[in-house]
Symmetry: C2
Subunit: 492 residues, 2 copies
């Protein structure tokens, strides 16, 4: 029971608070496999809600789902030169296909006779295996566009891992599209950036910044990487999703050509885009507090919890008669509600538990409430309590859920705006970056200067924000001309 | 265009017909990775419908989803002795975690410095990794039951593969539950058998036989394996789903004990149950014909296709004015409908295409129909065509979809019943088994006799059917006493 309280405070250690919260709210835990997590039912329920919303958005924008193999022949990685540079290093390699009983009876050992002719890697991303299939699917412009998404697990052998934020195995979706023209592919990459932006803002209540990555931060093999960047409570940025315009790089690597309308043979244009279980980390770090998780109603597996307070079965049955029609009405409005009438936990314990789990609205009904025709309402985002008449409570709760959703967004936006400053000198930059947050500064556009800033300050260019101030200036480091301010931060 | 027609006839070669169909209906194809398939968008859309229905059924019966690691430390497999016997042999083994550039510049090679201390295998099933987690989750009877399901990819390094039916990598769901008592676990295993049976009958229109496996055919590590067995058109049986009562085997292997209500320390009781993309094979082989796929409406991604026949844009716009409200009404009834007005394909081509893809109902509307207020209706299951009044067509289509669903089930049930015979002598058995189908025969209950029958005839005991005739007799092979007839067949 007591352990519920033992959440480290954010002010003591933000990173310990995060780890505590993920474990104590039953979202995920480390597994016996190094760097791989177990996503527990409550955490998975949130991920499922994200999946469902995103999947609907992908389908509305004309995409279909499919499934490609987990394993990728090693030689595929060498085909696209930049891609292999960016990805080949750290990945799980399958070299054998059989175990056998150890001769000394101690267990099982790898059967040396079952060595693969060519090693395979577990996909770190699927461009190569998918483009090797697209080669067979595309002959003519009539076969285009192909707009496929895949929900899958991927692996990158990360050395330092954190639950949800950076794990060796993670779950994600990866879209891979093929187009007849450069314009159409560029348009697709931007469309998906906007889908991600809408999802982050409207469902996660996360006011991300949309932008373009600098060359240093681009996806391996992309001509342009679009990104949505979030600002966490501790002043560090988190890349939440990316959409890549891949040009003809993968089409050339896998020799995917098509006959266009003018009967010319052309290489196909490509995009890819993805978000992952990392979004769970962004969701947690944006809204939660020292009492535990705070969930936006749109993604909460339980939106409303009702807790009875009563001394005996008679009081309980009176309460139940009030609560049953309330539950029916809430459900009719599409609101997920849990009535926790477990008699082996005290109300105070339940309060703490649902606060920890981030349930947006708590209703408490006791014997005195029944006499007075009242009910206690608590909103998780502000922890504010009020006593209201039971009459009309369902409509009130519905409105309250909407309010919580917008309030969380407004709060996160205010935090992000307060944390975003412009600086003009490198000295100022070095001072300000220590305080966290986004910093807008002029940069001369070269990878060398970006690299120097990173080495000096651990800050990277998160993006060149779209639709923000485009006034030219001079680079804070070199004094050379700068096309516009770009967005710096230290990042997860 | 012509290739649409080139489906091998079932009477020529059932297995070639199956392969042709899977490829030409765009359901799946082989990938460059040996034994691993690409599930193409149309095939995946059917699988998604299955997933959605099953997931809802699991949740209605009190289960939640979670996610456990893809990789399993090799040593875990040795913990449960019977389990390792059944599974350890053929699986993908990860031995290294890094590639590096080859010194001769020829591509990438495995970095010998990055050898894992302990090899890992890609999960062939997840009992071991899940029970190693359950150990930390279970202390008291209050922590039970745990009823978790996982949607995942798994790998078994099969030597002979066939699309959907047997592939090295496949998609599935695996339920893993933990209980305080033997009775509750046995009840759970049977409940899930019935869930699978309901799904097969009511959605797949597949009249499976529910039963218990003989000891030889049991899951590695189970005390009882329940199964649903389907009969395909070619007279071969297909195991469609299994539900295992695992006793305390995995709890003992991973030392998972709990304090029961009487304060005694006990081992936990377990079940596991799963169905996979193999169900796609069952669906295809049960209903489809020489013209292509036949889909039960409950699982068809497109339930109704509407094809216009017209000579000019004026006729098209008249047709459109008739069709638009029809589509709106169909959608309101939850029916998925596609209006194929593509002008670069002739109607005959479209007819063949949607027949191949198994769309349950086709509506055709031409200029003469508009004059007469009629529409042509074709049902895919019988290929019967009729001309009806447009008036009332929506209600008729809705009824027709229900009729097709029940007709497919009735047809498959009649086929199964016609194929099921009782035999009394082994000679008769040997003759009859050549004709395919299910054979009910007496068996003395020993693994030796079962093994002999398998060696002589390639037939296995598919199951001891639940709720079928339980009259005792004498074994057809040994003449020893037999408790009841059991169900034999050659199987996929």
């Amino acid at each position: 029971m007591a352990e519920l309280k033992e959440l480290t405070k954010r002010s003591e250690s933000y990173s310990q608070w995060y780890n505590d919260l993920v474990l104590k709210a039953d979202l995920a835990e480390q597994s016996p496999v190094r760097g791989c997590m177990v996503i527990k039912p409550y955490g998975y329920a949130i991920w499922e809600k994200m999946q469902r919303v995103l999947d609907d958005m992908f389908k509305e924008t004309g995409h279909v789902n499919a499934y490609f193999p987990l394993l990728i022949p090693k030689s595929f990685l060498s085909r696209e030169a930049e891609h292999v540079e960016g990805f080949a290093k750290e990945c799980a390699v399958v070299t054998h296909y059989r175990l056998k009983n150890a001769e000394d009876g101690s267990g099982v050992v790898v059967d040396p006779a079952a060595k693969l002719e060519e090693e395979m890697i577990i996909r770190p991303t699927s461009e190569t295996i998918i483009w090797s299939s697209y080669k067979n699917w595309i002959q003519s412009y009539r076969d285009l566009p192909i707009k496929i998404n895949q929900w899958a697990n991927v692996m990158r052998w990360e050395m330092r891992t954190r639950l949800f934020l950076r794990t060796a195995e993670f779950l994600w979706q990866e879209g891979h599209t093929a187009h007849a023209t450069r314009e159409e592919a560029e348009e697709e990459a931007r469309t998906m950036l906007h889908v991600y932006n809408d999802f982050a803002n409207n469902y996660m209540a996360l006011p991300v910044v949309m932008g373009v990555k600098s060359a240093n931060e681009r996806f391996a093999g992309a001509l342009d990487t679009y990104t949505i960047e979030g600002m966490m409570q501790d002043g560090k940025a988190l890349q939440c999703g990316t959409s890549h315009f891949l040009g003809q790089n993968f089409a050339k690597a896998f020799n995917v050509q098509f006959v266009d309308k003018s009967n010319n043979l052309e290489y196909v244009w490509a995009t890819s885009w993805g978000v992952s279980t990392r979004l769970m980390g962004a969701l947690i770090m944006t809204h939660s507090d020292d009492n535990g998780l705070v969930l936006p109603p749109a993604l909460a597996p339980i939106q409303v919890v009702i807790i009875p307070i009563c001394k005996n079965e008679e009081q309980m049955s009176t309460i139940r008669s009030k609560v049953d029609p309330m539950i029916a009405e809430l459900k009719k409005l599409g609101i997920t509600v849990k009535f926790d009438d477990a008699d082996n936990k005290r109300p105070g314990f339940k309060f703490a538990e649902y606060e920890l789990k981030g349930v947006p609205v708590r209703l408490v009904l006791g014997a005195r409430d029944i006499e007075n025709g009242t009910i206690e309402v608590m909103r998780r985002d502000t922890l504010a309590k009020e006593t209201r008449e039971i009459e009309g409570i369902v409509d009130y709760v519905k409105q309250l859920l909407d309010d919580i959703q917008s309030n969380l967004h407004a709060k996160a936006l205010a935090m992000r705006e307060a944390s975003t400053r412009s600086v003009d000198t490198y000295e100022e930059f070095k001072t300000e970056i220590e305080k966290g947050g986004f910093i807008l500064a002029h940069w001369d556009g070269t990878p060398e200067t970006e690299e120097q800033i990173k080495n000096d300050t651990k800050a990277t260019i998160r993006c060149i924000p779209l639709g923000w101030d485009e006034t030219p200036g001079t680079c804070m480091v070199t004094g050379k001309p700068s096309a516009r301010r770009v967005l710096f931060a230290r990042a997860y």
